[in-house]
């Protein structure tokens, strides 16, 4: 399957990589003794590694293409890309046990693992909710939002400030934080109603930076870069808890929030407004011709997406007991966007898996020590090359309708 041309290309690729990594891998300067270490053997590793990687990827792609070609020749109708995924997701008999096992593992997780592991898991779960929230805006409604972290910051600071000035507790602020973020979503939504795509991305990026800069510079309001500390952890009917207990408590809280989010987001996607979002993503002109209120649809996408970020923001503040603007940089937005794109636009399960991978991978890659971010980046690149539609491409509701029956039983589901 590998032709001579592939071999030639592989050779050129390995040569290119040797050239690219030469200063990093081969030259090692010892500043004290003022000598240069020439590590020539590294050059060999890089060459061999990239040569093999290139050939492997060619082989993989070629076999994939061959399979598709064969399918076309035999005139097999285009099967859904991942058959087992679809089956697993559509049959309750198959997915219910899997779901049960996952839930059981999640529930006993804090009993087995150390506080460190639980903390990582809480962070990962937070990003699951953030991903699901952004998924509404980017994945479903198709509005590219690069400033999502602003809403996260609004949530975190609303808890920090309301607690500082008015002594409000976690449970009171949780919905308030969400609603405040949703309000900011609408504020952002109004000026960007006419924008789409790249232009929208730039405006939202600016919005995210504005919020961060305000928090950084308005000392009287937010205490500037030094942040706000001593934020109380969430209480449980006034019970006193040790640090370990409160962390496990937060973990269970996060699990509950994730389940709640999945439920709501799923209902939203299959609702009337969800269909309006899908339609808006596909074709704006057609949307208007169908009588969909563009303004309301866009604003609702922004505010409902922001709502989750606000809630997670509150939990973030409670978890770290400290907030400062440095936690809400553009990088955060980029990571959340990565989660959505990697998971497969609009797919809930995809987003969950992607969030877990993206958050847990850097932690568990610590075995690679110095190279962990390199491996992480390579994983991202490879995933996008081999499954550009995301881990799980959107399983859209499809109805197989009996020809005689026509559309009698799906109608109820729709409305």
């Amino acid at each position: 399957m590998i032709s001579l041309k592939d071999l030639k290309n592989a050779f050129l690729v390995s040569l290119w990589f040797v050239f690219l990594t030469f200063p990093l891998m081969v030259i090692k300067v010892n500043p004290f003794e003022r000598t240069i270490d020439w590590r020539w053997q590294n050059m060999g590793y890089v060459a061999a590694g990239s040569f093999i990687c290139y050939l492997a990827s060619r082989f993989f792609l070629a076999s994939k293409a061959a399979k598709q070609k064969k399918q076309k020749l035999l005139d097999i109708p285009d099967k859904p890309k991942s058959d087992w995924q679809q089956r697993l997701l559509s049959e309750p008999r198959l997915y219910l046990p899997v779901l049960g096992v996952i839930l059981a593992i999640l529930l006993i997780f804090p009993q087995i693992f150390s506080t460190y592991q639980i903390n990582i898991m809480i962070t990962a779960l937070m990003y699951v909710v953030l991903g699901l929230g952004l998924n509404i805006v980017v994945g479903v409604a198709g509005l590219l939002d690069l400033g999502y972290v602003a809403f996260y910051a609004v949530g975190a600071y609303s808890y920090a400030l309301l607690n500082l000035h008015f002594g409000l507790g976690f449970w009171a602020v949780l919905p308030i934080g969400g609603l405040l973020a949703a309000g900011f979503g609408i504020i952002l939504g109004f000026p960007v109603l006419r924008l789409r795509g790249d232009y929208l991305a730039i405006v939202t990026l600016g919005f995210g930076e504005i919020i961060r800069l305000i928090l950084e510079n308005w000392n009287d309001f937010s205490r500037g870069p030094s942040g706000i500390s001593n934020i109380p952890r969430p209480g449980f009917f006034g019970m006193e808890m040790t640090l370990n207990q409160s962390i496990s408590y937060l973990y269970y809280l996060m699990i509950a929030l994730v389940i709640f989010t999945i439920f709501v987001v799923n209902r939203l996607q299959n609702s009337r407004i969800g269909r309006a979002w899908f339609a808006l993503r596909e074709d704006e002109i057609a949307c208007q011709a169908m009588g969909i209120d563009k303004t309301r649809t866009k604003l609702s996408a922004f505010s409902l997406g922001a709502f989750w970020a606000g809630m997670v923001g509150v939990i973030f503040a409670a978890k770290t007991t400290f907030v400062n603007p440095a936690s809400f940089t553009f990088l955060e937005s980029a990571i959340i966007l990565c989660i959505v794109v990697l998971g497969g636009m609009g797919s809930i399960i995809g987003v969950i898996i992607a969030a877990l991978i993206l958050m847990l991978l850097p932690e568990y890659l610590r075995a690679f020590s110095d190279y962990r971010m390199l491996v992480f980046g390579a994983t991202l690149v490879l995933m996008m090359v081999f499954c550009p539609l995301g881990i799980i491409s959107t399983v859209r509701r499809t109805y197989t309708i009996d020809k005689n029956l026509k559309t009698s039983n799906d109608r109820e589901d729709y409305t």
């Binding site: 339609a279 057609a286 208007q288 026509k406 559309t407």
Partner: protein
């Protein structure tokens, strides 16, 4: 039913429509013919509220609608089939049709209308589970018209239904337009480049030239008019 009174519409600073006045009576097929860039589509966009007129009035059943947003206008019963079809490519045919009924809540009636559309376009019934993007141009046009019909409009605005279609398919679509008009008593406002076919289908016609209405008459009179024949029919 619909009346435009000296409507002026602009794209930025460029005036596209100059003092357009026209009338559509209930149950009619009206056609608006003209060359490229005459302002045919802009007229439709002004009626449907996508490009609101800067001055002038648009009355639907005596009520002014020129300041309403597009979705409110659709809710009144004016539905547009946009130029270039604009179906939802990823949604299936059935879902596309369902989007047409977005504003309606009378489920039983919707179901009946769906049946009617599947009898009108049997092709769509066969392909109801396929993504709209997989259909051919003619089928997409049929889908676009059916989707608009699912909104149960009183006035259907059709923007160049013949665009990019083979002559045979075009004829088929025009037959169906006529059928919709007689069977459903839907008033139809047809914007078309194919003046010959449009005038043969319509009851009355307006001729638009560089944003101004230069002529209006019964369709058969326009068909036999020498100037029209020279300019648009190529006779």
């Amino acid at each position: 039913m619909l009346e435009l009174r000296s409507v002026n519409s602009y794209y930025g600073n460029i005036q596209a429509l100059h003092d357009i006045s026209l009338k559509v009576e209930e149950g009619e097929i009206i056609t608006l013919i003209g060359a490229n860039g005459a302002g045919k589509s802009t007229t439709l966009m002004s009626i449907s509220g996508v490009i609101p007129p800067r001055s002038g009035e648009i009355l639907f059943k005596g009520k002014p609608i020129h300041q309403m947003s597009p979705d409110k206008i659709v809710a009144l019963g004016i539905c547009q089939v946009p130029e270039g079809r604009h179906i939802f490519p990823v949604l299936t045919v059935a879902e596309n049709l369902d989007m047409g009924a977005f504003l309606r809540r009378d489920n039983r009636q919707i179901k009946q209308d769906l049946e009617y559309i599947y009898t009108l376009f049997p092709l769509l019934a066969n392909r109801r589970n396929q993504p709209g993007g997989n259909l051919s141009g003619g089928e997409q046009q049929m889908l676009a018209i059916s989707r608009a019909l699912m909104a149960k409009p009183q006035l259907l605005l059709l923007d160049e239904p013949s665009m990019g279609l083979a002559p045979l398919v075009t004829r088929q679509i025009f037959d169906i337009i006529k059928k919709i008009n007689t069977e459903q008593n839907t008033t139809i406002f047809l914007v078309e480049q194919n003046a010959n076919l449009a005038l043969k289908t319509a009851d009355r016609g307006y001729v638009l030239e560089t944003g101004r209405i230069t002529m209006h008459d019964k369709a058969e009179n326009l068909l036999s008019n020498e100037d029209i024949q020279k300019a648009y029919l190529g006779i």
